[in-house]
C-alpha cells in the first residue's frame, strides 16, 4: 500500500534483516494476523466467524487442523462465549487469542470489561466494521472506539505488516507483570482484511526469543487453590479500578520497550504516533488506520501548496497525551480524520481525546472530520477539502466538526 517509509523502515537496517526482506509474502491482512498467531505459540483460540474477520478464523482452523499451531481451537456459539472461553483459559495458564468484528465485539463487550478487570493478557484482532442499525458490513471504527473504556490496550494498523507486528508485540506487552491487561489490534475491514500486500513474516526463532513462554503469576491450579473473579464491595472496588489505570500507565513504558526489542530483529520501528512530513507544518492531519495511506498521498501531492503533515495515531489506549502535546506545540491546527462519531457530541472519539490532551496546554483549534462511515470511500478529493478547511480555519475556525461528503 505505502512505501517503506510508512512502515518506519527508512532507518538503517542490518544486513540480516535486509536479507529477511527478501522473504516477503503477498497476503491479506487476515492471513497476516493468522500468521502472527502461529508465531506466538498460542495455546487456546476461541472465535466465532463474522464478516470481514472470517478468513482469520478459517486460516486458524486450518493451521490447527494441520498441527501447524499446537493449540485447542474452541468453535464457540457466539462472540460472547469466545471471549468467555478465553477468560477461563487464560487463568488456567494458556496463551489465548480471539478475533472478531463489529457486532461481535459489541456482544463481547461485557466480557471485555471482565477480562481487563481480572487482568488477563488476552490478545484479540478486531476487523473494524460499522455497527447496526442499519446493518452494514463495511468498514468504520465505531466498534472499537465504542469499547474504548473497557480497559483494553488498543492499536490501529495502517497496513498488513503493522497488524502482524502488533499482534506479536501485544503478547509481550499484555503479559508483562506490570501490565497484565488484554490488548486488541484493529484492522480496517476490507480495506485491510481483504487486501493483498507484501508482508514480512518474522523468523520463528526471533519471535521465540522476543516472546518467552507465558508464565502466569496466578493460575487455576489445585496445588494452590486461588479464587478468581471475586466480589468487591464499596470498600475495595475503587482500588481495583485504580490498579487498572496504573497498569495502563505502566503499559506506556512497556510498549516502548517492546517496540525497541521488536525493532532489534525486524528493523521496523513502532511508536504511538507515526509522524509523516510533520516538521514545521501549520496543519496536522491526524489519522487512524488505513485512511492514513490516502492522506499521506495527498500530502505528498500538495506539500508545496500547503503547509501540512500527517500524524498517524497507532495507539488509542493508553492514549499518548505527551506525544500529542508535543506535536501540537509545533503546529497551528489539528484536523482529526476519523471513521466514527459520538452521537450527541457531534465529534469523533479521537478528536475529543485530542482536545482532552491539549486542555491547559497550548491552545490550537482541533477540528473533527467524520469520514467513511459504513465503508464510504474517502477519496483524495475529500482529503484535499479537509486540508483547505484547515487552512481557512487557521485564522478563526467556523465550526468544530465536519461530516465530509454528506449527501
Amino acid at each position: 500500500m505505502r512505501s517503506s517509509q510508512s512502515l518506519g523502515m527508512s532507518d538503517t537496517r542490518t544486513l540480516a534483516s535486509a536479507k529477511r526482506m527478501l522473504r516477503k509474502d503477498v497476503m491479506t491482512c487476515n492471513k497476516a494476523v493468522a500468521e502472527s498467531v502461529k508465531l506466538c505459540d498460542v495455546d487456546v483460540i476461541a472465535a466465532y466467524p463474522i464478516t470481514p474477520q472470517t478468513s482469520i478464523v478459517e486460516y486458524l482452523a486450518e493451521f490447527v487442523a494441520k498441527k501447524e499451531i499446537d493449540a485447542e481451537y474452541i468453535k464457540v456459539e457466539s462472540e460472547h462465549s469466545a471471549l468467555s472461553a478465553l477468560v477461563g483459559a487464560s487463568p488456567a495458564g494458556a496463551r489465548t487469542f480471539t478475533a472478531t468484528s463489529s457486532q461481535g465485539l459489541i456482544l463481547m463487550s461485557e466480557v471485555m470489561f471482565t477480562a481487563s478487570g481480572m487482568r488477563l493478557p488476552i490478545v484479540m484482532a478486531n476487523a473494524n466494521r460499522a455497527l447496526s442499525a442499519p446493518l452494514n458490513i463495511w468498514n468504520d471504527q465505531q466498534d472499537s472506539l465504542a469499547v474504548r473504556d473497557s480497559g483494553w490496550i488498543q492499536f490501529y494498523a495502517e497496513n498488513n505488516q503493522e497488524a502482524l507486528d502488533y499482534v506479536i508485540q501485544c503478547y509481550k506487552i499484555s503479559e508483562n507483570k506490570k501490565v497484565m491487561l488484554p490488548s486488541m489490534v484493529n484492522l480496517d475491514g476490507f480495506y485491510l482484511t481483504h487486501t493483498l500486500e507484501p508482508t514480512e513474516i518474522p523468523d520463528k526463532k526471533d519471535v521465540k526469543k522476543f516472546l518467552p513462554p507465558y508464565e502466569p503469576e496466578y493460575r487455576l491450579d489445585p496445588e494452590s487453590p486461588l479464587t478468581f473473579g471475586f466480589f468487591a464491595g464499596p470498600d475495595s472496588y475503587q482500588e481495583f479500578r485504580y490498579e487498572q489505570q496504573k497498569a495502563m500507565e505502566n503499559a506506556e513504558r512497556v510498549i516502548k520497550e517492546a517496540a525497541k526489542d521488536y525493532y532489534g530483529f525486524t528493523g521496523r520501528k513502532y511508536s504511538a504516533i507515526e509522524e509523516y512530513k510533520l516538521d514545521k507544518k501549520d496543519t496536522v492531519l491526524l489519522t487512524v488506520g488505513s485512511v492514513s495511506g490516502t492522506v499521506k498521498e495527498v500530502v505528498d501531492k500538495l506539500e508545496k501548496k500547503y503547509s501540512v503533515g500527517v500524524a498517524k495515531l497507532r495507539m488509542f489506549r493508553p492514549f499518548p497525551f505527551e506525544e500529542i502535546r508535543r506535536i501540537a506545540s509545533r503546529a497551528k491546527i489539528i484536523g482529526v480524520i476519523e471513521k466514527d462519531v459520538i452521537i450527541g457530541v457531534n465529534q469523533g472519539a479521537v478528536a475529543t481525546e485530542i482536545k482532552n490532551a491539549l486542555y491547559g496546554s497550548k491552545s490550537i483549534p482541533v477540528l473533527s472530520f467524520i469520514v467513511g462511515l459504513g465503508g464510504r470511500d474517502t477519496p483524495p478529493s475529500t482529503v484535499e477539502k479537509i486540508i483547505k478547511i484547515c487552512e481557512n480555519a487557521l485564522e478563526k475556525p467556523e465550526k468544530e466538526s465536519y461530516w465530509m461528503d454528506l449527501k
Binding site: M118, M180, Y218, L226, T227, F240
Partner: protein, 81 residues
C-alpha cells in the same frame, strides 16, 4: 492489591453471631448416623471418632441438624445473648 484470594479465608468471618437458637447434642441418644454432619450448611459439625461436635463460632442455628436427626438427639435451645 492481589487480583486473587487465598483459599478458605472466610474462616475469619465468624457467623455464630447470626444465631437465635443453639443446637445441643445429647450424645447418649446419638446413633452415629452422620446426618447432622452431612447436612450442616456451615460445615461446622465435626466428626470426632463416633462423636459429633458443633463449632458454635460458625453455627447459624438453622436447625437442620436437629430436624434431620433420626433419634431426636439434637435439641435447639434459645441462645442467651
Amino acid at each position: 492489591m492481589k487480583i486473587v484470594l487465598e483459599p478458605g479465608t472466610s474462616l475469619k468471618n465468624k457467623t455464630g453471631g447470626w444465631r437465635n437458637f443453639k443446637p445441643v447434642i445429647e450424645m447418649k441418644k446419638c446413633i452415629d448416623c452422620g446426618n447432622c454432619w452431612i447436612f450442616c450448611p456451615e460445615s461446622c459439625i465435626r466428626k470426632i471418632g463416633n462423636k459429633y461436635e458443633i463449632d458454635l463460632d460458625y453455627c447459624k442455628g438453622c436447625g437442620i441438624c436437629a430436624n434431620e436427626c433420626p433419634t431426636k438427639a439434637i435439641e435447639t435451645v434459645l441462645e442467651e445473648k
